[in-house]
């Protein structure tokens, strides 16, 4: 039987796409981002093997709340597209029942996985972490080639994509990166970018798992810093909004 390796299902998520959502977190990720909020995705220790039907049984429970808010199902991780067959089956069931679908991807995924899944996705959320491939590798463990290619492909195919820039002070918010990100997004014909401010609340998870977070000492950006970033992107012609 087709199963996915799921480490959490969170109902009533409000920041994983439009409206109230149920977010399904899948195990496994090709990246190791310095500020990763879900380190439990690295190992499968806490994962359960669930069928798409198992997951849908949970997703269906909040239909009334999706209807009231324009919400639905979000598949996240980890990197969900490391399990493309499961994600495809899950999304197919969700679409058949009329749910809005969102996929949060790192972009570091295969072309084949993307092709299989994208027609079933109402909204992709894709992080652009750094435009300098060497810096990207230093921050995430991989260069940005796959991520940028994924971005281009999705836009070319006509998928709806929300590009997001994690604002991690000292890591991603340098002027060169902001300008290069704006340039890249504009080159795709996209006019909007969401800023995702760095938060510290995930650090407890690292402590619980006995891990050390590489960003532990970073102070979250203040409102002014965020507005400064937004202003710089706006100068480059992008509508930058702050998530949360």
């Amino acid at each position: 039987m087709l199963t996915g390796r799921v480490f959490d299902i969170q109902r009533c998520s409000v920041h994983d796409g439009p409206g109230l959502r149920t977010t399904v977190f899948l195990v496994g990720c090709p990246l190791r981002c310095a500020w990763c909020h879900n380190p439990e995705a690295f190992s499968g220790d806490t994962a359960r093997a669930l069928t798409p039907d198992d997951v849908m049984a949970e997703v269906r429970k909040d239909r009334a709340f999706y209807d009231a808010s324009g919400g639905g199902l979000t598949v996240s991780g980890g990197e969900p597209l490391l399990q493309p067959a499961f994600v495809r089956a899950l999304l197919a069931l969700a679409k058949a029942e009329g749910f809005h679908t969102c996929v949060q991807t790192s972009g570091a995924v295969s072309d084949a996985a993307l092709r299989d899944v994208w027609p079933l996705v109402d909204l992709f959320q894709l992080d652009l972490k750094h435009q300098d491939s060497a810096r990207h590798a230093a921050l995430t463990g991989q260069g940005n080639g796959d991520v940028l290619a994924t971005a281009r492909r999705l836009v070319e195919w006509g998928a709806r994509v929300e590009f997001r820039l994690p604002v991690v002070p000292g890591f991603t918010d340098d002027a060169e990166n902001l300008d290069a990100t704006a340039h890249f997004v504009a080159s795709l014909g996209v006019r909007a970018l969401t800023l995702v401010p760095y938060q510290r609340t995930y650090l407890g998870k690292y402590a619980a798992l006995g891990l050390r977070a590489r960003c532990a000492d970073v102070t979250p950006p203040g409102r002014e810093a965020l507005q400064h970033v937004a202003a710089r992107l706006q100068q480059a012609g992008l509508a930058a909004s702050i998530a949360g």
């Binding site: 969170q10 109902r11 409206g19 109230l20 709340f65 009231a68 609340t201 650090l203 407890g204 998530a243």
Partner: protein, 852 residues
């Protein structure tokens, strides 16, 4: 409704932010001054109402009860100290000192407080002068000794064998209290949580517990001394004035009356005229003060005088007259009934809108002037404090605790959306005043799209507003016998009880039973652990139950006996009111009473009901579901082991307690547990509904706890959900504290599985919101979606608590008590207690900054 009782209650009143100079943002400056005075007012007592009424009652022995009440009220309104505060446009004070509750000694509940709980009052800052003490202990209490509703009720309960008193020596009593743990005991004794004087307070505590226990019904039920809890006929006063009501009464007299009816009708005439004279006292005072005032204030005072010369005697013609008439009426009714009566103004946006619209059309009223009056009205609706006795304590002792609930929005009598400009303006007034206003926001599928969202945003500045679902409420009211148009015109009484608009003798509160007691009775073959008397039927040895259904049968048998006892006690109490203590003022305004020539206590109103509240649903559902699973399905625990552990309050049985704590829970969208909850609620509603009231109606069920679940749990032994003896019960219909482990949508889904239209007097659900959620527009949308989604599934009421710094600090100190406290900072949520200290400190600091 959930009130933060009692620790830190006064501190829970939020302060307003200073507005930038020169700009009208937020509260009108005059209202800001009024509010500041209200917040700084010291707790005070006033015995004028008590004294004047006592004089009249003494002099009128043997007369018709309506006439006695009318004469007593007329004397009070004629003699009581009146004053006009420097910022007021609306006048009409309630007592000689700000926030002093009017005391109605005939009820007897106040006597109990003064006799046994004076120390509690003093701990709250109440000061009695020597003259107060003399008046109270040498005159008032002796004058009413044996004659109050409470005295008569206790005698009737004893005569009918309905009470379950405490026959314990002081030593035994102390042992019993100790068995319930020191912490809950301290909660009972110390109004503000201090425990140092525990020993010094013990003798008083024991006396209070023994005296309070006389009020204990068989099966731990409770039936308060008061009825009330209704919506006056403000609509009739605004339409006709008290002159019109007097004319109605005279016309009724002309049609021919029995001597009994004549007494009531004459009393109505008398009270209507007393209302005229009362407002004219204020007119005289305003004119006198105008002499001494500066030019601006002189104009205001002369306007006040002109209004008081007209209303509430004649029907209002302008918006300002209408608001004044409403306030006079509301105020005088509460003076007449005494504080703590749950008398609520009702649909104020609907009542006042015709006057507002007419003024606006005439160009005679600006939006700002209207807002100023509404802000002042809202402040005045918070200018009250209730002193309620409970076993060993005083409750609800904070501003606004008399819950003069205002109902806003919803459909009109024609079924179309009736949200109007005043609904929005009232919302603004509630927001600007930032007080603990009890405001109920009705929601229907026809409500304006922005309505829910706008009310959600109120949480950023004020305490939790309540959302009510018109579809479920109207269905419930029709089910209970209301005409559809009348049902659509419902108002919220007290906390969340839907009741008719000026056409109903509702008595929506006061009588209560606790579900966990039924289980306690099952476990001890009809005896409660604390009192030890044979209160209920012997439902057999629980060790011999063959299956869960046998246990549940026994539970329902006990519950039925409890409901029978509680309603019988209520009927006895209601008969005392009907025989001795009438309220012609309130009755004159309510549809039906003049026509029938009968006081509301005698069934004069068009619609008549009583109420039985059920407490601790979450606790009992969790307990039963856990017993079902562990004892009857898995058979991993025997009934004998369980009963032994419960009787020892889990001492030496911690492993078993942990197992119980991990059992199934209500509130996590578990269909099997939720079905059990539904079954219990269904049965409870049916049992209650089958009981008649003395006024010709039937009882309706409610599942609300007024925030008193802390007290309710105090005498309740350990329960099979792992709860220790004396700990709080679950509140209202909400899941137990700590059980909402799957988030708000799961909790709402569990609640929605209960057939809520069966619960005639409502239920309340409190959802704690993650910190920071409302900071973003997406968060406000999300909460609005929770409301709409829940209501689409038949939910009746919901309100949200945004987590405050005090809660976070408490969670930091006692993490074991806050397992489900979720904090959210933008895109990430976490269990607060699992976060590191530094981040916790961050979040606390942020919570402290966020209220404005």
């Amino acid at each position: 409704m959930q009130l933060d009782v009692p620790a830190g209650a006064a501190a829970a009143v939020p302060f307003s932010c200073p507005a930038p100079p020169g700009l009208r943002l937020g509260l009108h400056p005059k209202n800001a001054a009024m509010k500041a005075r209200l917040l700084s007012a010291e707790h005070a007592l006033c015995f004028e109402r008590a004294r004047y009424a006592t004089e009249v009652y003494r002099a009128t022995e043997g007369q018709h009860p309506s006439l006695r009440a009318a004469k007593a009220l007329a004397r009070v309104l004629e003699k009581m100290t009146i004053r006009i505060e420097p910022e007021e446009l609306l006048v009409g004070n309630r007592a000689s000192r700000p926030i002093a509750p009017p005391i109605a000694p005939e009820r007897g509940d106040f006597t109990f407080v003064f006799r046994y709980l004076l120390e509690d009052l003093e701990a709250f800052g109440y000061r009695l002068t020597e003259e107060d003490r003399r008046l109270l202990f040498d005159e008032l209490i002796p004058a009413w000794d044996g004659k109050t509703v409470r005295d008569a009720k206790l005698a009737a309960l004893e005569a009918h064998g309905l009470s379950s008193t405490l026959n314990a020596s002081p030593v035994e009593l102390l042992r019993k209290l100790r068995a319930f743990g020191v912490a809950p005991l301290a909660r009972l004794v110390a109004p503000r949580g201090e425990t140092t004087h525990l020993l010094a307070r013990l003798p008083r505590l024991l006396a209070a517990v023994k005296a309070g226990a006389k009020d204990n019904l068989k099966g731990r039920g409770r039936c308060t001394d008061t009825q009330a809890h209704l919506v006056p006929g403000h609509k009739n006063v605004l339409a006709k004035g008290f002159s019109g009501l007097r004319d109605d009464a005279r016309a009724r007299l002309a049609k021919g009356v029995t001597p009994e009816q004549r007494g009531f009708i004459e009393a109505v005439v008398l009270t209507c005229e007393a209302m005229r004279d009362f407002s004219r006292r204020f007119a005289v005072l305003a004119r006198a003060e105008a002499e001494r005032a500066d030019a601006e204030r002189r104009t205001e005072l002369l306007d006040i005088a002109a209004r008081c010369e007209r209303v509430p005697w004649l029907p209002p013609r302008t918006f300002a007259e209408a608001v004044q008439a409403l306030w006079f009426t509301q105020n005088a009714i509460i003076i007449s009934y005494g504080a703590g009566s749950g008398i609520t103004p009702g649909r104020v946006d609907q009542l006042l809108h015709p006057f507002y619209a007419a003024d606006v059309v005439r160009g005679a009223l600006t939006r700002d002037d209207a807002l100023r009056l509404l802000e002042e009205l809202v402040i005045k609706l918070n200018d009250n404090v209730v002193i309620w006795p409970n076993i060993g304590g005083v409750e609800l002792n904070h501003l606004g605790s008399d819950v003069e609930n205002i109902t806003l929005g919803g459909v009109g009598r024609d079924g179309e959306d009736a949200t109007n400009e005043l609904s929005w303006l009232f919302l603004e007034a509630v927001e600007n005043t930032k007080l603990a206003t009890t405001a109920s926001f009705r929601v229907s599928p026809k409500s304006p799209p922005e309505w829910v969202r706008r009310v959600v945003a109120l949480h950023r500045t004020t305490n939790a507003p309540a959302f009510l679902n018109d579809e479920t409420a109207v269905a419930a009211l029709v089910n209970d016998g209301y005409a559809l148009e009348d049902a659509r015109d419902y108002c919220l009484v007290g906390c969340v009880e839907p009741s008719g608009n000026g056409d109903t003798f509702g008595a929506t509160g006061g009588t209560k039973v606790y579900f966990p007691t039924a289980l306690d009775l099952v476990f001890h073959r009809g005896r409660t652990t604390f009192f030890g008397n044979q209160d209920g039927p012997d439902t057999g040895d629980p060790r011999a139950f063959r299956d869960f259904e046998a246990l549940l049968d026994a539970f329902f048998t006990q519950l039925e006996a409890m409901v029978q006892t509680a309603t019988e006690a209520t009927r006895l109490r209601d008969a005392i009111w009907a025989e001795r203590f009438h309220n012609p003022l309130l009755s004159s305004t309510i549809d039906g009473c003049i026509e029938r020539g009968r006081d509301m206590t005698q069934g004069g109103a068009r619609y008549n009901f009583g109420a039985v509240g059920g407490g601790g649903l979450g606790t009992v559902v969790d307990s039963l579901a856990t017993v079902r699973q562990l004892v009857f399905e898995e058979r991993s625990v025997t009934m004998d082991e369980l009963l032994r552990a419960l009787s020892l309050n889990f001492r030496g049985h911690e492993a078993l307690r942990q197992k119980l704590l991990a059992g199934p829970r209500f509130g996590v969208d578990d269909a099997k547990v939720d079905a059990l909850a539904r079954r219990i609620v269904d049965r409870f509603c049916d049992l209650v509904r089958a009981q008649p009231t003395t006024t010709g109606g039937h009882f309706k069920a409610s599942l609300i706890s007024y925030g008193l679940n802390v007290y309710e749990g105090a005498l309740e032994p350990a329960t099979p959900d792992g709860r220790r003896a004396g700990e709080p019960l679950s509140n209202s219909m909400s899941p137990s504290n700590g059980a909402e482990k799957k988030g708000p949508t799961a909790a709402l889904s569990s609640m929605a599985r209960i057939d809520q239209a069966k619960i005639g007097y409502g239920n309340s659900l409190n959802v704690r919101l993650p910190l920071g959620l409302l900071d973003s527009s997406a968060g406000v949308d999300a909460v609005a979606a929770l409301v709409k989604g829940y209501f689409a599934r038949g939910g009746f009421h919901v309100q949200f608590n945004a987590v405050d710094a005090a809660t976070l600090r408490a969670a930091q100190g006692r993490p074991q008590d806050f397992p489900d406290l979720i904090v959210r900072v933008s895109g990430y949520s976490a269990h607060f207690t699992r976060l590191g200290r530094r981040i916790q400190d961050d979040l606390i600091a942020r919570a402290e900054l966020s209220p404005c």
